[in-house]
Subunit: 353 residues, 2 copies
């Protein structure tokens, strides 16, 4: 069993380095080899002309001109791919100057099942410090409970002269009727998942989407906003015993605050944590960070809230839990919705496994 | 050598428990035995009728009616005293209901020199969880650098119907002219230290002070504001290779923000971190927390800022470092001041050791 095993790295290269070329010049075959080191492979890809999007066997990758985002789950060896990423950037793009890195993940429920160095944040930090020296390791939230880890390195005076924000929502313990949609029993393909789950309603209309419904269950979606560096990525692990959904975006098209509320309404997790990074130039990011301290997610109470100032940006972190009263209510609503949606009685058996 | 080895615990008992009596009923002899377990002893004590203050061989203790604060340094075994504190509260005060606990410390430079369980925050948390189950462990600030640990347990719905805030400033790498004052070479006793260092200017006039200048160096001050639960405590470790000063208060008499600025002006550390806890009823605490995000400590830049919401209060954490330009300036000022102050050439030799 794999509980919330997602790992996320975002690496920014210095676009002002002499002779620097876009990371999108790295040949496809080289990306395949790099991902093989991390223990995953490409299922399909799309591009909006600014950024290339890859849906992977285990999560997602986005390659922009000077930024690479790699998110993997399961027992993948994400950090093992770092050295190769740096080599590829040097060989194909003349860039060996990383100006900013963010590595983050939620606490693992079964860290012992993770390959080195992912079995502890300590060993991950050791590993990261070799490639990105001088970074800072943060433990956010109460340790030994639901919490979140961040390693970040920013080159002093690295300039980010454009608005930048990232919202991530990590959801656990989802209701069965929500989860059932992301199985081959209830849905016939990725698009079917998207429509039935109402995910389509929280994505800008013109988003370039590619997605995957895994067999027998599991769902990944990558979305690219046309002609921009903006993406949306959603991953669903629907096994009821270790259900997990992640939503991540840096989009600036829809109201971010409303989108955040809608994501939680769609997935109705028992628990979720969210992080919002924003630099000073992102009005939208700063607005959402600010609103979060008073924002009501109906039916949830907030049991943790932290604010962190980093060299080039600020980060807000919050944990929420479904209130006891609503938990009961939610169960009833789910049961009703579940029986209405469920055209195949096998689903219930599958989900109860 | 002992670098910043202070450990601090604050325990609140439930005053509404049937038959509860003040912790100040615990006999002196019992306190002596309890402190012996922690590896320290009482040098002298004072009382303001609401709270008893003890200057210890290693730091300080304050006993109020329903709260005990114990701060120890060196290789003391602070947490070993917890079991005895709980026993004493039960036997002498009919209280076995702890409603709130805060254990905190800065990272140790040489954790290997600390006795169990103080060699790591992990083992400290294991220990604390036995006595105060259900608490939360927070790692604040960037790990493996200057950072700060907090374990806190609050009984749900524990009522604190009075304003409460605590300011702590932990300072390291102090200039030699400041440090020299806290040696028997420059000062003849505690009072002499207080006057020469200008500490007297940052303490309310009517404070009940008792203090100690250690031989050959080191200084502790406890201050009680008359007829109140308010205290001030200052500890100075003046050895230049591992200089450290802590300032802690919950006072509400002087402007807390001004006091904070003055403390840093007096000690001029190269680095300091500060924490401000405040509950919702403390206007002064909330005001200082709020002001901190914009507050300028002249000559310093802030390299970390975090905000944390706890069940009954909020906590603000910030780290500051002397700016490079001011470092040079400070050295020059110090040299000048040092030679003016220094009537005994032996001081310089001592401080250069």
């Amino acid at each position: 069993m794999q509980y919330c095993t997602e790992k996320l790295i975002e690496i920014w290269f210095d676009k002002d380095q002499d002779g620097a070329k876009s990371l999108r010049n790295i040949p496809y075959a080289e990306l395949v080899v790099m991902l093989d080191i991390a223990d995953c492979h490409i299922l399909h890809s799309r591009s909006n002309g600014c950024m290339d999007s890859y849906v992977l066997s285990e999560s997602s990758m986005f390659v922009s001109n000077f930024r690479i985002i790699l998110k993997t789950c399961g027992t993948t060896r994400l950090l093992h791919a770092v050295e190769r990423i740096l080599q590829l950037a040097k060989v194909y793009c003349n860039m060996d100057n990383v100006i900013s890195v963010f590595y983050s993940r939620k606490n693992f429920m079964q860290p012992g099942q993770q390959p080195f160095p992912h079995s502890s944040f300590e060993t991950e930090v050791d590993y990261l410090e070799k490639y990105f020296p001088g970074g800072s390791a943060y433990y956010i939230g109460p340790q030994r409970k639901d919490c979140w880890f961040l390693y970040t390195m920013v080159v002093p005076k690295a300039a980010f002269p454009f608005p930048e924000h990232t919202l991530e929502i990590l959801m656990t313990e989802l209701p069965e009727d929500v989860l059932s949609v992301f199985t081959t029993i209830v849905s016939k393909d990725g698009k079917d998942c998207r429509m039935k789950s109402a995910i389509n309603t929280i994505i800008p209309l013109d988003t370039i989407v590619h997605e995957e419904l895994f067999n027998p269950c599991g769902y990944s979606l990558n979305g690219l906003i046309p002609k921009s560096d903006q993406y949306i990525t959603i991953h669903v692990t629907p096994e009821p015993n270790f259900s997990y959904v992640s939503f991540e975006t840096n989009q600036n098209t829809l109201n971010l605050c409303e989108q955040m509320l809608e994501v939680v309404e769609i997935f109705r997790p028992k628990k979720f944590l969210l992080t919002i990074f924003s630099n000073e130039l992102s009005n939208e990011g700063l607005k959402v960070q600010k609103s979060l301290s008073d924002l009501i997610f109906r039916g949830y109470h907030r049991n943790n809230f932290q604010f962190l100032q980093l060299p080039n940006e600020t980060m807000v972190y919050a944990q929420f839990q479904l209130s006891k009263d609503f938990e009961q209510l939610s169960v009833n609503v789910n049961k009703k919705k579940f029986s209405a949606n469920n055209e195949n009685s096998g689903t219930k058996d599958f989900l109860s496994q």
